[in-house]
């Protein structure tokens, strides 16, 4: 760059106009590169290249800041006039994501070329992300030199977000997600990656027991002619069989006998606990003086359901029970020789050797008799940095709560 141009840049008044132009150019360049690349799906290089790239980025950021701290462009990069257009540019991309369904096959050539159905993995998204990180980095550095405790909230919010953006972007390619199909009393050491290819895992898992805890079944009324559930406006079409008497669609039900797990013997049902057993109930139904009594059975993958015909128009039906909770008792062995027995369930994963093991699914057709438990194993080595950023942001949010807008003299109502 000649001395004259650099002097021009220095003298130039950097404002919103420049912010808008730079953001606009980044978006244009991004979409241009995306179109030129033939709509490829971008991936950031994995370990160790992402780590090296991250460290170089941090070094350049800190170096550039301290080398040209008083340069108008650096000052501008650390201010609202660059930040606002950048935030709006990013918002524009997220708005596109809000309206265009993501992770599906693109419907038109234009959508495919611009990568609109997988925006997170496109050039414009990555470039605007990078630009935002530069702005956040410079802003943070500007605010902490010299450091003043008054800026603690500012630092937590901006640096926290910076860390979250940086670590999620760089770490995205190091995330491993696989599913493992475990059958009861069998040992499994292979899993399937997202494209369905088997991969050998560093842990072996034996499913000791799969267990489902169910809600009581629901009952409903169906139309005999159509077989459809009878719907009345603002009335619950289903009632949970968790009590002895209930009213549904004008019918009064009295439960004479309820069996949680049962099978048919002759004309009635008896308590049974073998694969395929399901809930049943003997009910007495009255409406307008007429009375009918009989069994309803929810049925299973082995047994037919049983409905109770109430009159010409309606029948009473028991629906399959919904799961309240499902869990797997696992024996896990690691390569380092660790041997653990534990139980996992939805919302309660188990963490071992950098892997988290989640309860994902089961054979839903077999329901509580399923001998299959589908597990998901996830490894995300960058997670601690992401969490650190999240916790900084949480602390920053508390600061926002306490201090309010500094230009108003802060929030005056909080002690």
């Amino acid at each position: 760059m000649s001395n004259e141009t650099s002097r021009k840049i220095e003298k130039h008044h950097w404002s919103y106009r420049e912010g808008t132009i730079v953001t606009g150019l980044i978006l244009l360049l991004g979409f241009g590169m995306q179109a030129a690349s033939g709509g490829i799906v971008l991936r950031i290089a994995g370990f160790p290249w992402n780590l090296i790239a991250g460290l170089i980025f941090l070094f350049l950021l800190v170096f550039a800041f301290y080398r040209w701290k008083n340069h108008p462009v650096i000052k501008w990069l650390g201010g609202v006039k660059a930040a606002l257009p950048a935030i709006l540019g990013f918002t524009f991309l997220v708005l596109l994501m809000g309206f265009v369904k993501q992770d599906v096959e693109p419907k038109s050539a234009l959508v495919r070329t611009l990568g609109l159905t997988h925006l997170v993995k496109t050039w414009p998204f990555m470039l605007i992300n990078l630009y935002l990180m530069i702005l956040l980095g410079i802003t943070t550095l500007k605010r902490i030199t010299p450091f003043n405790y008054k800026n603690a909230g500012f630092f937590l919010n901006h640096f926290g977000l910076f860390l979250v953006l940086l670590s999620t972007a760089l770490g995205s390619s190091d995330i491993q997600r696989v599913t493992m199909n475990c059958y009861e009393n069998k040992t499994e050491h292979n899993a399937l990656n997202p494209s369905g290819k088997p991969v050998e895992m560093p842990v072996t898992i034996k499913l000791l027991n799969f267990n489902i805890d169910e809600f009581p079944p629901k009952v409903t009324i169906i139309d005999n002619k159509t077989g459809q559930i009878v719907l009345t406006k603002n009335k619950n079409p289903f009632e949970l069989l968790d009590r002895n008497t209930l009213d549904i669609y004008g019918y009064h039900l009295e439960v004479e006998q309820f069996l949680e797990s049962s099978g048919k013997v002759g004309d009635s049902y008896v308590a049974l606990n073998e694969p395929g057993s399901a809930p049943s109930a003997k009910v007495n139904v009255t409406k307008d003086g007429s009375e009918i009594s009989g069994w309803v059975y929810s049925g299973s993958y082995v047994n037919q359901p049983e409905t109770l015909k109430l009159n010409e128009n309606h029948s009473l039906v028991m629906l399959p029970a919904e799961p309240r909770k499902f869990s797997s008792e696992l024996n896990i062995q690691t390569q380092s020789g660790e041997n653990v027995t534990t139980t996992i369930e939805v919302n309660r994963p188990f963490h071992i050797d950098g892997w988290s093991i989640y309860q994902l699914s089961y054979n839903t057709e077999m329901g509580r008799w399923s001998n299959l438990s589908v597990l998901e194993l996830v490894r995300d080595p960058w997670l601690p940095i992401v969490y650190f950023g999240i916790f900084l942001m949480m602390a920053g949010a508390v600061f926002l709560f306490i201090t309010g807008n500094p230009k108003d003299g802060g929030t005056k109502h909080v002690a």
Binding site: V80, R177, F238, R324, N347, N405, T411, H413
Partner: protein, 234 residues
């Protein structure tokens, strides 16, 4: 007269709280699963915020506005009574469920109150000078609301990691929640840099609330959002 009005508003809010408690006990799960249930929480918080800001700042008009808005939500609920299903899918059975929803709805109520301030200023304040006091109140409400919004968003991320193995999946609800967050972020930055340009700030605030409403209700109807894990059951 003022005392009578305040007393009645207080009684109404307390009544809603009692109703919510009975509902919670009756359906044997936190009443936070359906849109109607979130509207009920919103009505409670909205009235509470209106009353609280009256007690603190003596803005009478905000009480009537916020009670009016709370009433709109209650009327919607009366027009579309929901059936209170007692089952709760396993993914929602988490210690994060209650804090995530409560913090979010509280943030929505705070930001809703701030948008009432914005709308009043856009339509009834003739120039930038007259709205100095109210804009500070809008700021207070936005800062409080935004800090809760941030916490709700981050709680959601931590919960998602425990439940689904990833903290952020750009699920449509997440996308719109993030958009909402970004719009209020624009407001905060704009106010910070241009403390005296009130009208434009108020416009940003009104637009932000529109985005918030899309996130809360609109997502259920967006074609891009089918199969979202966040769709409320009706």
């Amino acid at each position: 007269m003022n005392q009578l009005a305040a007393g009645l508003s207080f009684a109404g809010t307390a009544f809603l709280l009692v109703f919510m408690t009975i509902l919670w006990l009756h359906i044997q799960r936190p009443p936070m699963r359906t849109l109607g249930e979130t509207r009920l929480w919103y009505a409670i918080f909205m009235s509470g915020i209106g009353l609280g800001s009256y007690l603190r700042w003596k803005y009478k008009w905000l009480v009537s506005y916020s009670l009016g808005l709370a009433m709109v939500f209650l009327i919607i609920n009366l027009q579309h009574p929901e059936t209170y299903d007692k089952t709760l899918m396993p993914a929602l059975q988490s210690p994060w469920f209650i804090p995530h929803v409560i913090v979010y709805i509280f943030a929505y109520a705070m930001l809703g109150a701030s948008s009432l301030v914005a709308l009043r200023n856009i339509f009834f304040a003739p120039s930038d000078k007259t709205i100095k006091g109210p804009i500070q109140m809008a700021d207070n409400l936005v800062y409080l609301g935004f800090s809760f919004l941030t916490l709700g968003l981050l709680f959601g991320a931590l919960w998602a990691k425990e439940a689904w193995g990833h903290y952020w999946t750009w699920d449509p609800k997440e996308t719109w929640a993030f958009l909402t967050w970004m719009f209020y972020l624009v407001y905060i930055h704009y106010r910070f840099r241009h403390p005296s340009e009130h009208k434009r700030a108020m416009t940003i605030l009104a637009v932000s609330f529109a985005i918030l409403l899309v996130c809360w209700f609109g997502v259920n109807y967006l074609p891009s959002a089918q199969n979202s894990v966040h769709i409320y059951s009706e």
